[in-house]
Amino acid sequence: MASPLKQFTIEPILDLSIGETDISFTNSSLWMVITALVLIIFVAVGTRRSSIVPGRWQSAVEYFYQVVADMVRDNVGSGGRPYFPFIFALFMFILFGNLLGLIPGSFTFTSHLAVTFAMAAFIFIGVTLIGIFTHGLKFFSLFFPHGAPIVSAPVLIPIEIISYFSRPISLSVRLFANMTVGHVLLKVIGGGVVALGSFYILPGIVPFMALVAITILEVMIAVIQAYVFAILTCVYLNDALHLH
């Protein structure tokens, strides 16, 4: 049986480099491109002949639009409207990446910390810059809770700073850890099905049932994690736009 971690190996498909930097086109990049293409086709076909009474495909696209629009409105308010396209693209990209990663034989790029941290760091820097440009120096009042006694500043400010800097890390680690754990679990139990099933057919059924249940759970987690990633982006954006 192959190692359950073998599915996460990055294999270069096309060797490229700029100077010393390795920018090879890997299986991870391939699946990002596939995800983006599937996403573009999904949305483009759904909105190609948009009618007042939507067909099945158009309703599906509109459903996702509605979910993200509600999320932005509930968490950021009307000030978040300019950022809706970014959050929609982010949510859909992670969602489709997670779901396409569940297809046997595919590659889950969200199971790599490098990918999720790159996204989280981009959001973190972007949100911080938005906050500074909107509020100027007043933005730094985010690090001191409103109305707290000034004596508590030496304790509260480090805590708030740690809390602020832990955002991109928890954002990226959450997605990466959930995807990695889920895929390892699927592989391990899948191995159990083969091992026990080849021994005798009946014991193989038990891990097979578990595998079916976990596959359903993984589909749920794929959706929930994309949703959590997007909703936390909204929460951070709200903090930057409205401070406390």
């Binding site: 740690i162 809390s163 832990s166 959450r174 959590v228 936390l232």
Partner: protein
């Protein structure tokens, strides 16, 4: 052709469309509220565990960095791990607050 379920006359078409729309709207509303409730509940649960661990981790890294910079080994590391734990707890409390009073105004966070 005289099927009572599929009347071909257009006289009451408007009414039928309206009834169908209402049915569809209430059904979809129920469905989205139920599914988003379950989703957010599980989402909050998954958020909380990571927040606690990451708070301590970031606190530790900042403390270690400050120690290395100011040469105060190991006091700031210990202090910032404690701060990190508190920061993690505060993140969890904030998440819980947000989850309990979901329909909040945008100005409060």
């Amino acid at each position: 052709m005289t099927d009572p379920n599929r009347p071909s006359s257009t006289s009451d078409l408007h009414q039928r469309v309206k009834a169908a729309q209402d049915r569809n709207l209430s059904a979809s509303k129920e469905k989205t509220s139920a599914s988003s409730h379950v989703g957010s509940g599980m989402g909050v649960g998954l958020r909380v565990g990571v927040d606690l661990v990451v708070g301590v981790g970031v606190g530790g890294v900042i403390g270690w960095g400050l120690d290395w910079w100011l040469g105060t080994k190991p006091y700031l590391l210990a202090l910032f791990i404690i701060f990190g734990f508190i920061a993690g707890l505060m993140n969890v409390i904030r998440t819980a607050k947000q989850a309990t009073n979901k329909p909040k105004s945008g100005s409060e966070g």
